[in-house]
């Protein structure tokens, strides 16, 4: 301490700094730092704007050629340069719906287990383990899905489904065709595993935020744990849960690698969930580097734009709902 003080004194003895100059320098540093941080914050906005502008300018050619018909045509033929987005959009929606149908109830039940049933000692480890599922990179799900899960589905899941629903009117068309292993069902199941941790961790957080008084009051009236969950916890946290579900949906819609491995990359719309199909992101991943011709590339970028618009709306809705519940909690 004294050393520093002495050195400072020596310097100042050589040339006494004017107080005004020092203040001016400090103010300058502050102004520069302020401007720097502010422009970095702006950069985030510019980034989003840039993504939108780049996608629109890239897809202009496709939309000029096909017009609105791009989103209503099923044909996808690189040879005759006819492109329509119906098949990938359909595949994206169907796989995401399958994923949500499984992941939402299971995720909510895990969150119920973690908040109400789990012994306190195990709460953290189990919570972390479920979140590790979210940490596994999507390419790992892809390679696992291709070599392990798709053969398993082909052998043990699809044949019983075909047998069980083969003669039921409407359902038979959902489970028609040979069991390929790869296809929309398999992709949807893998997506379900991938979005499960997102739904679980957000629901757990909002369940934890329910005021204990509310739950205690219900228990005091003689409600069972399920009744408390169903009639007190869920209604109270509804907005947050829906936000978490939307966030998971946003993930499922945009997921690329895991789906690319197991979807089969076939540009057609089929009613059967067992049929190979394609999604927007899988089409782009599979075909972009091989796309010859500006129109082909532009059509793929147009697909990207559609995906971005869909996920943007879903994610914006999710964030809006979560912001509302955050404000209420506090």
């Amino acid at each position: 301490m004294t050393d520093i003080a002495l050195r400072d004194e020596m310097v100042s003895a050589a040339e006494p700094p004017s107080r005004a100059a020092v203040l001016k320098r400090l103010r300058l540093v502050d102004a520069v730092f302020h401007a720097l941080t502010r422009s970095a914050a702006m950069a985030v906005l510019v980034l989003l704007g840039g993504v939108i502008v780049a996608l629109i300018s890239g897809s202009l050619l496709a939309f000029e050629k096909f017009g609105f018909g791009f989103v209503t045509t099923e044909v996808w033929n690189p040879v005759t340069e006819q492109f329509g987005a119906v098949a990938p959009i359909y595949g994206t929606l169907v796989t995401s719906i399958i994923a949500m149908l499984i992941a939402v109830p299971v995720g909510l039940m895990i969150a119920l287990f973690l908040t109400e049933l789990c012994p306190p000692l195990l709460r953290r480890p189990i919570g972390i383990a479920i979140e590790l599922l979210a940490g596994i990179p999507s390419i790992i799900y892809g390679i696992w899905g291709l070599f392990v899960f798709a053969p398993f589905v082909q052998q043990y899941v699809q044949p019983p489904l075909i047998d069980a629903f083969g003669n039921v009117p409407i359902l038979s068309s959902l489970f028609a065709g040979p069991p390929y292993g790869i296809g929309m069902l398999t992709a949807g199941l893998i997506l379900a595993i991938m979005v499960l941790p997102f739904i679980t961790s957000i629901s757990r957080d909002v369940f934890d935020a329910v005021p204990p008084v509310l739950k205690e009051a219900a228990y005091g009236m003689g409600c069972t744990t399920w009744e408390v969950f169903r009639n007190v916890v869920l209604p109270y946290t509804r907005v947050g849960v829906i936000g978490g579900v939307m966030l998971g949906l946003g993930r499922a819609l945009g997921e690329t690698m895991a789906v690319t491995f197991v979807i089969g990359n076939a540009h057609r719309v089929s009613a059967s969930l067992l049929a190979p199909s394609t999604t927007i992101s899988a089409s782009i991943a599979n075909e972009f580097t091989e796309a010859v011709g500006d129109l082909y590339t532009s059509s793929l970028i147009a697909l990207g734009l559609i995906l971005f618009i869909i996920t943007f709306i879903v994610l914006a809705a999710a964030r809006y709902l979560l912001m509302r519940i955050e404000r209420r909690i506090g």
Partner: protein, 285 residues
């Protein structure tokens, strides 16, 4: 009579409750089961191909021996570069949101947009970088890959920096301000220091996030069968090699894909566990 009815109602409610609680246990087992399944297959398949060669030899042509040295190095280069580009921007933006513009309109807009970028499909980021870098330059490059990854880093760092700076007690800032310290110094000398562990956690999480990213690399850095540290040329990366090798019909390529998958997973899980330990120790202290 009434008593019997009420006791049967009670029994039904209890049955219903235990059925639902049973489902809760089942759902948790279901979730944990997938984790165990995926990790055990990965360990089994990955370890059987793990040897020193993996780290010392290049990716082979089909049918011959080789390793993953060039994609490992490529991934490291692009990850380091992406962190070097993305972290300062994210840190600055997070600083603005928590320090200078805590109540500004800009902050709430940036927070909203940033949260959307955080979960935006990464393949779209790849398309964006293709449009603004690869297409004008006329060729794929490692630099474009690093920029694509940096764009994924930014929202992660912004989010954690803002959250962690908001946790720093205001009394610390006020004490420093009372001593006459200008704002820029308060931020750097006081707030950053108090939030250091949390900010580092954010960077670690960002590294974990990008080290497994494949989609944005496919048409920015592309891939490369050979040794390349040239940032201006296509650069190999582990995820891209896994993608290519796993979908190939050659069994030795598929084996290398599993080994690469094991390497990535171990790295990612280790990073996220370290990050978690860091953030929990900083919260308790």
């Amino acid at each position: 009579m009434a008593r019997a009815a009420s006791s049967s109602l009670y029994a039904r409610r209890r049955r219903r409750n235990s059925a639902m609680m049973g489902l809760g246990y089942l759902a948790t087992l279901f979730g944990l089961g997938w984790l165990v399944l995926i990790l055990s297959v990965l360990l089994w398949q990955g370890f059987s191909g793990l040897s020193l060669k993996v780290f010392t030899e290049m990716t082979p042509p089909p049918g011959s021996d080789g390793g993953l040295l060039n994609p490992i190095v490529g991934s490291l280069i692009m990850t380091v570069l992406a962190i070097a580009i993305g972290t300062p921007i994210g840190l600055m933006a997070g600083t603005y949101m928590a320090e200078y513009g805590r109540y500004a309109k800009l902050t709430s807009i940036v927070r909203f947009i940033n949260d959307i970028l955080l979960s935006a499909p990464s393949i779209v980021i790849g398309l964006f970088v293709y449009e603004v870098m690869v297409a004008p330059m006329g060729h794929f490059s490692g630099l474009a890959g690093a920029v694509a990854l940096a764009i994924i880093v930014i929202p992660v760092v912004v989010r954690t920096t803002e959250d962690m700076l908001l946790l720093v007690p205001n009394t610390l800032r006020e004490a420093a301000a009372a001593l006459g310290l200008p704002r820029a110094y308060i931020v750097r000398r006081i707030a950053y220091r108090a939030a250091r562990a949390g900010i580092i956690t954010g960077v670690l999480l960002a590294i974990a996030r990008i080290s497994g990213e494949t989609a944005p690399l496919l048409f920015t850095a592309l891939n490369n069968q050979f040794w390349s540290t040239n940032l201006n040329a296509p650069m190999p990366s582990l995820p891209a090699v896994i993608f290519q090798f796993a979908l190939s019909p050659y069994s030795d390529w598929q084996q290398l894909a599993w080994t690469g998958a094991l390497l990535i997973t171990v790295a990612v899980l280790a990073l996220s566990i370290i990050a978690r330990a860091l953030s929990s120790s900083s919260k308790s202290s």
